[in-house]
């Protein structure tokens, strides 16, 4: 299938002393919206990190292809420049690095986003408005002293600026109040509308999904993808929780 953007095949991965992901197969087509759900500790965030190329996790077998290229052994910066974006659950604070010049730096890494300083300034201002961010944010240091909600907005700002082909949103909705959640949802909608990029939304909360048209839903339990289905699977989980999948996995897990 030529329009498969991300193809994860048979991935087994974990930390040095602990396997976490088992036999993961996942395909996301260009422009599709996928949701990855599962109970706490299932390995959802690990999968996001493995796709991004976090060296804290070792891939023991399997491959990750992006845009038809095998990126299993590529470093995170190469994956980022190829068009993968991971929005972190807890964005890191980098003291002394002004947000604005950081945004300029990461934008300039991408030839396809080449623009004049003036145009860049206008673009950043436009996105900041979209996200209800005051201009004074931009003179502050990267993520330093920002509240959880503000940090998520800065993640959305980078998402909209960098226009990736695939955005993995790791619990972007966690810990947000209603207003922040609505701004973040708007950011995600803008990304879908302006960039037409694919989404892999990692969450255990269905709230953020209400305004998204979801193509596929995946359920992860204990490091395995145990179910896959259409958007309606979300409603099923909403109503019955993850217990059904956990039971199924426990009986299937006897073989392992």
């Amino acid at each position: 299938m030529h329009d498969t953007l991300l193809r994860v095949s048979g991935i087994n991965a974990g930390t040095e002393d602990k396997p976490i992901l088992h036999d993961i197969d996942l395909a996301v087509g260009a422009g599709e919206t996928h949701v990855l759900m599962g109970p706490n500790g299932a390995g959802k965030s690990t999968l996001g990190r493995v796709i991004m190329g976090d060296p804290a996790y070792q891939v023991n077998s399997g491959t990750i292809e992006f845009g038809g290229e095998d990126i299993t052994d590529e470093a995170a910066d190469k994956r980022s420049l190829a068009g993968i974006f991971l929005s972190y659950q807890a964005p890191v604070e980098v003291p002394g690095v002004p947000l604005y010049s950081y945004l300029r730096t990461i934008t300039q890494k991408r030839p396809e986003l080449k623009m004049t300083a003036r145009k860049f300034r206008a673009r950043v201002g436009e996105i900041a408005d979209q996200l209800d961010m005051s201009g004074s944010f931009l003179t502050r240091e990267l993520n330093v002293g920002f509240s959880g909600g503000e940090k998520k907005k800065i993640e959305m700002l980078q998402l909209l600026l960098l226009r990736p082909k695939l955005a993995i949103l790791d619990e972007t909705d966690s810990g947000l109040d209603v207003d922040a959640l609505s701004v973040v949802s708007r950011g995600i909608e803008a990304y879908r509308a302006d960039c037409g990029g694919a989404l892999l939304v990692i969450t255990h909360n269905t709230r953020i999904l209400e305004r998204l048209s979801v193509d596929r839903t995946h359920v992860m339990v204990q490091g395995r993808l145990v179910a896959e289905g259409p958007a309606s699977l979300i409603d099923d989980i909403d109503a019955h929780g993850f217990e059904q999948f956990e039971r199924a996995n426990a009986s299937g897990g006897d073989r392992a």
Binding site: M52, G53, A75, D77, V92, G96, T105, L162
Partner: protein
């Protein structure tokens, strides 16, 4: 000679050749290595000095020989052999007031360091020293009209108006017997700056002296004497660099700063000595009532440094702020810090230092805070943050406090950190390569100091950080 035609730019390109180039010493006047009364007399005679100065030099030479080498409490200076250091190297050129009158090779040196350009754009005056002598000195006319004096100590000594002033102040804040290398300095000092800012005069743009040591196996012993009279205001910038040699070079300058009541002095340094340099520099400021002393210091180069700028807060309500950063890479052992002596009542001092260690470099931060008996309500806070970039580097913090007034409050805080893997991953996942991510974090760490510098020096400091992070320096 490794002449290249590139010019220094104010943008982010970094090239060690900016600093690492040398010119032939052919035709220069170079005194024999080692230290004898004859050499000291020859230096004095060449400068046609007053008797008192020669007497001071000879007494200092005796002190130098009489003083034991300091006990082994800091980095080793065993590689420094005074018998193989020439204490005086002169490029045989007269001091010029126009860059056009400076010999080409020397002019090129300073052009490549960006000095004439900075002078045109943002400075009130510039002094440029090449080896032992100042080769260029000039100040804007409007600043001179206000009565500001910016010249060499030598010229001040030849001026009947200023000779008594130099005599009154020279060597009083840092006495020749202060330590062995202070004695050495007073025996063979040459070049440097004399600055006098009259009462109430606020100098709008900074003055800058740049010290370039070109000769191999030589020493630079410039003396900087700055007097900021009551209510006056000055920003003085000192820059230093040298090309890389295999023979040891020595820098033993002295900086004496007199900040009178209600005055303010900011003293900024960007030092990028080459890594064969022993930097044994002494800097001291005495601060009057309601006056303010600000230090901004970036130390990048040298093989070994011993450097502890000292502030004596003599007057009541005087204030000192010290921001410093040191970067120690391979083969570097930098013992730096700062001393504050709070003597006046209600005096305040804030010391904020940062150090970065990489590739086996050693950083030792020493602070000494002394609160005198009559310093009621004195307050001093010292903060030292260290960043270690690998497992083979070293960083130590050695604070000392001597508080003799019960109403004073003194605090010290030290942290040693590393760059977390999460931070690197975060920046890499936005497209920065690993070295870029590390450089960005280190630049951010240094930012609180670099933002205290005028823009172009902040740019230079950031470039030096990039240069060090690339590990391009041998």
């Amino acid at each position: 000679m490794s002449e290249r035609t590139e010019k220094r730019t104010q943008v982010a390109d970094v090239d060690r050749s900016l600093y690492d180039f040398t010119y032939s010493e052919e035709g220069y006047e170079r005194y024999d290595d080692g230290l004898t009364p004859d050499i000291v007399r020859a230096i004095s005679e060449k400068k046609d000095e007053p008797e008192w100065m020669l007497a001071m030099r000879l007494a200092a030479l005796d002190t130098y020989h009489a003083k034991e080498m300091a006990p082994n409490w800091g980095p080793s200076i065993a590689g420094l052999d005074m018998d193989h250091i020439s204490t005086y190297v002169s490029p045989r050129t007269k001091q010029a007031k126009s860059w056009d009158d400076v010999p080409d090779d020397i002019k090129n040196t300073f052009e490549r360091l960006g000095i004439p350009e900075a002078e045109r754009e943002s400075l009130a005056g510039v002094g440029a020293q090449y080896d032992s002598e100042i080769v260029y000195h000039n100040m804007r006319e409007d600043v001179a009209k206000d009565g500001v004096v910016y010249t060499t100590i030598e010229d001040a000594l030849h001026d009947p108006q200023w000779e008594p002033v130099v005599h009154e102040y020279f060597g009083t804040l840092i006495p020749p017997a202060d330590h062995k290398f202070a004695a050495l300095h007073y025996a063979v000092w040459s070049g440097g700056s004399f600055v006098y800012v009259p009462t109430g005069v606020k100098v709008e743009y900074p003055l800058q002296s740049y010290f370039r040591l070109n000769a191999e196996g030589a020493g630079q012993f410039e003396h900087t004497l700055i007097i900021v009279e009551e209510g006056a205001d000055l920003h003085f910038i000192e820059g230093c660099s040298a090309p890389k040699y295999y023979e040891a070079n020595l820098h033993a300058g002295a900086v004496e700063l007199f900040v009178k009541d209600h005055a303010r002095l900011r003293y900024s340094t960007i030092e990028n000595w080459s890594k064969n340099m022993y930097n044994l520099n002494t800097k001291r400021a005495r601060v009057g009532a309601d006056a303010q002393m600000e230090w901004v210091s970036g130390s990048f180069g040298s093989h070994v440094s011993y450097l502890y700028p000292t502030t004596i807060l003599q007057g009541d309500r005087s204030n000192c702020e010290f921001s410093g950063i040191t970067f120690a890479g391979a083969t570097q052992d930098l013992d730096t810090g700062c001393k504050v002596i709070l003597n006046g009542a209600d005096t305040t001092a804030t010391v904020d230092t940062k150090s970065i260690s990489k590739d086996g470099g050693c950083n030792t931060f020493r602070s000494s805070v002394i609160v005198g008996r009559r310093a009621a309500n004195a307050r001093c806070s010292v903060s030292c943050q260290s960043l270690m970039l690998d497992d083979i580097s070293r960083s130590d913090t050695i604070p000392a406090m001597d508080v003799r007034n019960a109403t004073a409050s003194v605090g010290h805080e030290a942290t040693i950190g590393r760059i977390s893997d999460d931070t690197i991953l975060y920046l890499m996942s936005r497209g920065c390569s690993e070295p870029e991510a590390r450089t960005m974090v280190v630049g951010g760490f240094a930012n609180p100091v670099s933002k205290e510098l005028p823009l172009e020096y902040a740019v230079e400091m950031n470039n030096l950080i990039k240069l060090e992070m690339e590990g391009a320096i041998g």
